[in-house]
Structure formats: C-alpha cells, structure tokens
C-alpha cells in the first residue's frame, strides 16, 4: 500500500510531543530546571499542533476535520486519537498557565501526572487504530508498541537536547541519560517485536527501509548513542549525543511507519485486480 505521509508524520510528531511532555512531567518529580520545563512544554504543544495539522492533510479536505471532531463519541480509532490529542493539548496548556500564574505545587503535579499518562497514551493509540483484522500485517499489538517506543525515544532525545541548551547536569537527579537509554530500549523492543511479527521475509521486501532505517538507525545507532550518554564518560558533548540520537530515533520512527504501509497486503484485496478478469495466483 502507498505510504500515507500525513499519517506517518502525524503519529510521529504528535507521539514525540506527548512523550516529550511525559519527560517534562517526570522532571516535576525527579527534579529539573524550570527553564527546561517551560521550553519542553512549549515545544511539546507545538509538536502536537503540527502533528494535528499533518493529520488533516490526509482527509479529502482539511475542513472535514470538523466532522470528525463533532463525532468524537464514535470511539473509532480516529476519534480516540482526536480525544487524546485534545486532552494532551488542554493539559499542556493548563500546565504552562498554572506554572506561570501560581506557585501552588499540587495542581502542577496533578497536571504532570496527567501529562505523563496522556502523553504516553497518545504515542500508543496513534498506532492502535491500525490494529484491524482486515490488515494481517498490522493486526498485532506490537505495532502500537513500536509507535509508542519510537515516539518515546524521540521525546527522550528531544528533552535531552533542550536540557543541553537550557538546563544543567542535575536534570532528573543526574540520571537523565539512564531514562533516555530506557526510552531507547523500549523503542528498540517495539521495533524488534513488530519486525518479528511481520516476519523477516516480508519485512526484507523493503530492504532499505528495514535494514537502513529500522535496524541500523532506529535500533543500533539509537541504542549506541543513548549508551554513550550514560557510559561515555562525558567525552562526547551532550548536545551532540542528543541531537544525533534524535535524528536516528526519528528516522527509525519514520522507517517503521513506512514499513507498516509498504507491507500492508489486505486480507483479500479483491479490487487490487484490474478489469478485465485476471487470474489469481492460487
């Protein structure tokens, strides 16, 4: 099936925004700089808005998005994505406003918890809508796991990039690198699980996407770079680690989403055959 780029970019950008805000929320509990939280929140909200803009480009007309919004309670895959997009936007905006206008810690921490939950859910459910019986190569929970994992890895490296630009070494009590490595591991597990579900033969039909995008950049490079952040002894500048990690994780995220579309076969795709009558390969 043809790659639906608006959907690929929507899920990765919005998922990255959600994961980035999950890291902002975590910093409320593990310790971090206010400047990083402020910048992280603004970047996160920008990413989910940008992702939302890409999603409407998939529709016949962007104005049709209004119809989807007015039918939220259909609880289809798209409506769940929309609900989570809205919930993330509201929580992120509320978090920014509360932090600006109040010194109370409880509301901020409540919003941080909500942000962590909604942010991670957004990454997962952007992939969960594709788990349908009619598409055998999508019909596995490993697909939303790959969506979540790659979004999480991108969010972690992006948070690290913001820390490198605006923060200090005490972010997450000095353990940010460990959390970034953890996010990269979740991303790698998601990618390996989905490729294993697809089967190496089917996935290899898209050799460049699989070996170049998913394996080399999405798994190996992302893990190595996040490992350098923890075990590298500070030899490599933090900004270099995080930016290069972000690029690799982002390409890995694009690659697995592209692989999903390219390997889609349909259960019985009767109309893929042209008229006049053709012989099926049976």
């Amino acid at each position: 099936m043809e790659i639906q780029w608006p959907l690929v970019l929507f899920s990765l950008l919005a998922g990255t925004g959600g994961s980035l805000f999950a890291f902002v929320g975590l910093s409320e509990f593990l310790g971090g700089s206010s400047k990083v939280r402020d910048a992280g929140s603004i970047v996160a909200i920008a990413l989910i808005v940008l992702g939302g803009c890409f999603s409407v480009l998939h529709l016949a007309s962007p104005l049709h998005a209004i119809s989807a919004v007015t039918n939220l309670l259909s609880f289809s895959g798209i409506s769940i994505e929309l609900m989570l997009l809205g919930a993330n936007f509201v929580v992120m905006l509320a978090y920014i406003l509360v932090r600006k206008r109040s010194n109370a810690t409880t509301p901020v921490k409540v919003l941080a918890v909500l942000g962590i939950a909604f942010g991670l859910m957004l990454g997962f459910f952007c992939g969960h809508g594709y788990v349908i019986d009619a598409q055998p190569t999508w019909n596995s929970e490993t697909l939303p796991l790959a969506y979540l994992g790659t979004s999480l890895a991108c969010g972690a490296f992006l948070y690290g990039t913001i820390v490198a630009l605006k923060g200090d070494e005490k972010e997450f009590g000095g353990k940010l690198g460990v959390f970034t490595l953890g996010a990269a591991v979740v991303g790698a597990i998601g990618l390996v699980a989905y490729v294993a579900f697809l089967g190496i033969d089917a996935a290899s039909s898209q050799a460049l996407v699989l070996w170049g995008g998913v394996v080399v950049l999405g798994i190996v490079a992302t893990l190595v770079i996040s490992g350098l952040g923890v075990f590298g002894g500070g030899k490599m500048p933090a900004i270099a680690v995080d930016v290069s990690g972000l690029v690799c994780a982002f390409v890995g995220g694009l690659a697995v989403r592209s692989l999903m579309w390219l390997c889609a076969t349909g259960y019985i795709d009767l109309f893929s055959h042209t008229v006049p009558s053709v012989m099926m390969n049976i």
Partner: protein, 195 residues
Amino acid sequence: MAYGLLINLDRCSGCDSCIVACKLENDLPLGHFYNKVIALGPTGTFPNVEKYWLPSQCQQCRNPQCVAVCPTGASYRDEKTGYVLIDREKCIGCRYCMYACPYGVREFNEEQGCVQKCTLCSQITADGSGVPACVHNCNCGARFFGDFDDPESDVCKEMAKYPPEAIHSLPDPGDSQPVTRYILSPKFASWKELV
C-alpha cells in the same frame, strides 16, 4: 432483514456484463468500479483442470468492520434492510473504512473526496420494487437479490435447490458476517478459500 446478493458460480460465464451494468446504472467514471469479476484458475493438471469466476463487490456484512471504524458515522448499516451504505455528505475521506474492509471492495473517489462502493442499487431497490442492475442484466441468470432472512425470497429459494456443500461465502477474519453467498457445485470446480 439482510438483503444481499446470491451469485450462482455454476452459471457465471465471466462475461463482465454485471460490471458494465453497474457502471452505467451508477454513472461511474472511467477507472471506477463497484464490482469486479475475478477468474480463479485454471488450476489442476490436464485433463483435470478447473476454473471459475468470482464476481466480487461489497459483501453487505451483518457486522461490518467499515462501520466500526468510521469516525463520522458516514458508513452505516441500514437496520431495516441490512444494506451497508455510505452517506457521502458525512464522509470525510479518511479512508479508514478501506483499510478495515477485509475484502478490499471500497474505493476512493478523488474528485468527490469520498469513499464509494456497491449500494445494491439502493436508488432502484430501496422501495422493494426492483433488483440491482447487475442482477437484472446478468446474461446467464447467475445473480439473485433478496432478503436472506426471508425463506420466500429469490436468494433463499435458489439456495434451497443446492446441498450445503455447494454454498459458500468469503472467509471472515473478524466476525464481519458477510451476507453475500456463492453457489459453486463440486462437479464444476472446488471452492478456493483465497487465504
């Protein structure tokens, strides 16, 4: 009610008249179809070879997956007739229903910005007075239209002439419960499951 098509493959000659009739009745532009005819075979080794044609279109499922995923309610099943239809005014062109249809029998109309498919010629049949154009124009008398829940309907009466092993439906991966039935007697060819 569960209105739908019964297609007797023992009689289908693969002439494609149903495709032409459908395109004319529904004013479908070049390259667009609500139905297609697929040749299955020939299979086997001479002299024991066989082949049959499989006219394919929306299977009018009782539990349609296209309806379940539609974010706007544009895809719906009319509970009175069992027709699975698309409200073009509500369709936003997200194409989710196309991904969710197990049989790949929907298509996207770029010009109109909406998904389209077989409607059982509801413009003719909704009031119960007529039959779909593909049924009316079938040269071989292979196509039947009616209510599968009514033993006196054309489809049930035709099915009653055949043993159970000659009556088939497309494989159902997710409890979609397709209504459309095909008759193919083993003496003509063995039914292929396609998956």
